[in-house]
């Protein structure tokens, strides 16, 4: 026994020793044949890493300190500092919430679960097991159930969207969109067969959404009895086939032989309103088989998705269309990431830290993308110097200027104006008419830019030469000579109302593209 522990420790130690090794391996693969790209300067790197790890932007002070720092490994140090900060868990939870739920609405228990997962660095396979077979009676885990329960909610008089849930399990955890295989083989993707959809569908169509009750604090799901294979037929050929529960491209799960009643662990009973619990749970079987090292697509999918989140482009795109005829842009890179992530037991924080250390991540100007609604909100309230006031204010009062808004209200307004519509993969936060009108005319934006004790405009108005402070605070960089002149000319135009002129200039910078994008 002792021997075994030593062995395990030795294994872990080797794994740790290898840890720092992934970043150079990635760069070696990427830049073996092409020239290394120009690296981002400190300011560009700082803003990027801050938006990615904190979700907001650094203050002018923090920016100054970093730019002045002469330590050679200051970038690695900053990455480590940000990844260890409590904000990282919140930012990662935000990103995964958008990715997994696709703007289906907010849920506190779910959000708390996600934050906790990233705080404790729960391995991705464990997270997926908890999402796919939620323990609703376990307080620490029940939030994970929202992935399924939200998708089983009925909308109007429409049928419960079991096919949608089935599709999303494939999309989110294996990177395959099997939607078309609900009725026939996929017409443009040879790898995807109707049995791949049906093998999952038989599991999920067997669930029932149950309302919260004395025992369950959240809505929960019950599972029916499965005693036979699921039959399906192609609408194209009318050919019939059947399948047991099965993960796509995998083996069928054996359905135990049972004669009705003996299949139940807890028998359903109408009188006591017991919905019953079967001995054989396809839900649990699939929840074990999807997040497994043997399921190659499981690791590839998450490696690709994390790469996308931090680099801005997937190695396979669309993110949910892994198949042989849609090969990765860089197959060796995806293999490397997937393999090492599996070796590292699906440790996402490790993978993220490694990616951030690469020259690929730190190159200049690459893969610009618009900030998500969450990033824009945080960047905006930090830039305008209203973050603390909003966070502290729990009782908004429209009559008192300083108490007019709370953070919650800002969150809602920014999401309504900037988030993509629900049930669409949010690959890029595209600017829309709605977002433009929000920045131009909304009271939230006007309010934050009014001079108020301690905020941006108040602070700038007290400075004789506000250009440097303005550019550092809003854009994390110093202005060049031309920009300084432009600002001074603008301020000189109407010297009687300096704070008004500053407000307008700050507004123009805040609604300009440079503020919206990840540098």
């Amino acid at each position: 026994m002792k021997h075994m522990i030593v062995c395990l420790l030795a294994l872990t130690a080797t794994a740790w020793a290898e840890e720092a090794a992934l970043a150079p391996k990635i760069d070696a693969l990427l830049f073996a044949k092409v020239a290394k790209p120009a690296q981002a300067d400190d300011a560009e790197f700082l803003r990027r890493v801050w938006l990615d790890f904190d979700g907001g932007i650094p203050s002018a002070e923090e920016a100054r300190a970093f730019l002045a720092d002469k330590t050679p490994d200051k970038r690695a140090k900053l990455i480590n500092k940000l990844i260890a900060a409590p904000r990282f868990a919140v930012r990662a939870a935000d990103a995964f919430n958008v990715m997994l739920m696709e703007r289906r609405g907010e849920n506190e228990a779910w959000k708390a679960w996600l934050v906790e997962c990233f705080k404790t660095n729960k391995p991705w396979d464990a997270m997926v097991r908890e999402m796919l077979a939620p323990e609703f009676l376990n307080e620490q885990q029940r939030g994970a159930g929202y992935f399924i329960t939200r998708r089983l909610e009925k909308v109007g008089q429409q049928d419960t969207d079991y096919p949608g849930l089935t599709r999303d399990v494939g999309r989110m955890f294996m990177g395959i969109d099997l939607q078309c295989c609900q009725c026939h083989r996929h017409l443009s993707v040879n790898d995807y067969k109707q049995i791949d959809f049906s093998g999952l569908y038989t599991v999920y169509q067997n669930l029932k959404l149950q309302p919260a009750d004395d025992k369950h604090k959240t809505p929960w799901i019950s599972e029916g009895l499965v005693t036979a294979k699921y039959e399906f037929a192609s609408v194209l050929t009318s050919k019939k086939a059947q399948t047991a529960p099965r993960i796509p491209f995998g083996e069928e799960v054996m359905i135990p032989v049972s004669t009705g009643d003996d299949g139940w662990l807890v028998k359903p009973d109408r009188k006591t309103k017991e919905v019953g619990q079967p001995k054989f749970s396809p839900l649990h079987e699939i929840a074990q088989r999807v997040p497994a090292p043997e399921n190659a697509l499981f690791a590839k999918n998450i490696a690709n998705r994390v790469w996308f989140l931090f680099i801005g482009k997937g190695i396979v795109e669309p993110l949910d269309l892994h198949h042989t005829e849609n090969p990765p842009a860089h197959p060796a890179l995806l293999d490397l990431l997937a393999k090492e992530l599996t070796t590292h037991r699906f440790d996402l924080r490790w993978l993220i830290r490694e990616i951030a250390q690469t020259q690929a991540y730190q190159q200049s100007g690459a893969h610009q993308r618009h900030l998500t609604a969450e990033q824009q909100l945080r960047a905006f309230i930090i830039a305008t110097g209203e973050r603390e006031r909003l966070e502290k204010n729990t009782k908004p009062d429209v009559k008192v200027d300083a108490l007019k808004y709370s953070l919650t209200e800002f969150e809602k307004a920014f999401a309504a104006a900037l988030a993509n519509p629900a049930k669409e993969p949010e690959l890029a936060a595209n600017p829309s008419l709605r977002s433009a009108l929000f920045f131009r005319n909304s009271d939230h934006v006007q309010w934050a830019l009014k001079p108020r004790a301690g905020n941006l405009i108040d602070h700038l108005a007290k400075q004789t030469d506000p250009a440097e402070e303005l550019y550092l605070t809003l854009l994390t960089r110093l202005p060049d000579a031309e920009e300084k002149t432009a600002l001074n000319n603008w301020l000189a135009k109407d010297s009687s109302n300096k704070s008004q002129a500053l407000t307008d200039y700050a507004w123009a910078l805040l609604s300009s593209t440079e503020f919206f994008v990840n540098h």
């Binding site: 017409l187 519509p421 600017p431 008419l433 433009a436 005319n441 603008w490 135009k493 593209t513 994008v517």
Partner: protein, 418 residues
């Protein structure tokens, strides 16, 4: 101080681009192009299911005819229910199809089914007609959002209408006829300040574009541009400034006022305007309900037809009026009529359709279509054709997969096409 052009310069440059002189304006090619650009649609949706028997297809003195009489219209031989005296005088502008026979008589699925044209199931949600038109014809020369929806209740940006075409083609909904949030200039900002800081914003963006990927800046510029165009026409969204006389003519009720806003939007050049009226689901007390609601509809819809004709817009605007289905001829125990998709009517007017025309007929009791029945797919074929779009030659693109714009196996209602 501003190195960029002002919005006014843009108007001039656009004219220069379009015109280049009178010669081009009068050339047949250009005239054809303008005709194409200016086609518009008014889509009136009576949610819940208007009764065809109390409106377009009365059956007085029959078993299921109900208490109302029928009255002659401006087209000899064609009768409407007496609840529509004003529209009766305008029948010569209308094209009524009395032989609709569709498939779904449940609201939840029916509303969607009809508005999406009930195509063959391709596993993806189809766009509503308005989103389809927005996609195929674009915003046109006005530059205003191509698909606007005026409705009671809440407003905003409705992406779901667009189905697989993507949120870009969804509707801009005016809840209670009011513009969506943030459409109007903030009261604390003067027009001058607004213009000045927007110019500044543009200048900063152009500087940034020089160093970075252009397309990112362009995407932003285009939405701020559309915001400009929309805000510049804030007058058309301001219901408080509607002329008093028109407010009376259209009727001082939701539907009347919403139709008036719709007229302003059509006049301003919005490509597709949808107006919804709710509450037509008369399972109980059908006759009193219709006696209250139909005259309001009659008033507003006929005022609209008059105005569109007077302004010449009826020549280029296709007008469509329908529900998700009609109502049962049989009168139920609550003196109501239930859902009936077997035999009902839609009305059209304006561009591309025949005027003073009745297509098809129902049997004497109004229970079934006696002539050739038409499903909603045929109506979609008809409407697209009326707008000059050939559904046999035009396809939607669903991420690389070509999909028909209207039901593949159906044909237009030829009798209705001009």
């Amino acid at each position: 101080m501003n190195p960029l052009c002002t919005p006014r310069d843009h108007t001039f440059s656009r004219r220069a681009f379009l015109g280049g002189g009178l010669g081009l304006l009068t050339s047949p090619l250009f005239a054809e192009a303008m005709k194409q650009r200016d086609k518009q649609v008014l889509f009136v949706w009576l949610d819940g299911g208007m009764s065809q028997l109390e409106t377009w297809d009365p059956k007085p003195n029959t078993e299921f005819g109900g208490p109302f009489r029928s009255i002659p219209t401006s087209v000899p031989g064609v009768h409407f229910c007496e609840l529509m005296p004003k529209l009766a005088k305008q029948m010569h502008k209308l094209c009524v199809v009395r032989s609709m026979c569709t498939k779904d008589n449940a609201h939840s699925s029916g509303v969607d089914r009809i508005q999406r044209g009930d195509p063959k199931n391709r596993g993806v949600p189809y766009p509503h007609f308005g989103a389809g038109v927005a996609k195929l014809l674009g915003p046109g020369s006005s530059g205003l959002p191509p698909y606007v929806w005026i409705k009671p209740g809440s407003g905003g940006f409705r992406a779901e209408d667009a189905g697989f075409l993507g949120p870009k083609y969804g509707s801009l909904a005016f809840g209670d006829g009011k513009p969506p949030d943030n459409l109007l200039r903030h009261p604390d900002i003067s027009a001058e300040q607004d213009a000045a800081r927007n110019e500044l914003r543009q200048m900063l963006d152009q500087r940034f574009a020089k160093q970075r990927e252009k397309r990112v800046v362009e995407a932003n510029a285009s939405v701020f541009d559309m915001a400009n165009k929309l805000m510049a026409r804030a007058d058309i969204f301001d219901t408080s400034k509607l002329p008093e006389r028109d407010r009376d003519r259209y009727g001082r009720h939701d539907f009347g006022q919403h139709m008036l806003v719709a007229r302003q939007m059509l006049e301003a050049g919005v490509r597709f305007v949808k107006v919804t009226s709710y509450g037509w689901d008369t399972h109980g007390d059908n006759f009193n309900a219709h006696a209250t609601m139909v005259p309001k509809f009659d008033q507003a819809f006929s005022a609209m037809l008059e105005d569109l004709e007077a302004s010449g817009l009826l020549k280029t605007t296709l007008v469509i009026c329908l529900s998700e289905f009609g109502r049962t001829p049989r009168i139920n125990g609550h003196v109501g009529r239930d859902h009936w998709s077997e035999a009902w009517s839609i009305a059209m007017a304006g561009h591309g359709v025949k005027h003073g025309m009745v297509v098809g007929e129902t049997n004497e009791r109004g229970t079934e279509v006696k002539s050739k029945p038409f499903d909603i797919g045929s109506a979609f074929h008809t409407w697209y054709r009326a707008l000059g779009i050939d559904p046999m030659k035009t396809e939607f693109d669903n991420a690389g997969q070509p999909l028909p714009i209207a039901h593949d196996d159906m044909l237009p209602i030829k009798e209705a096409l001009a």
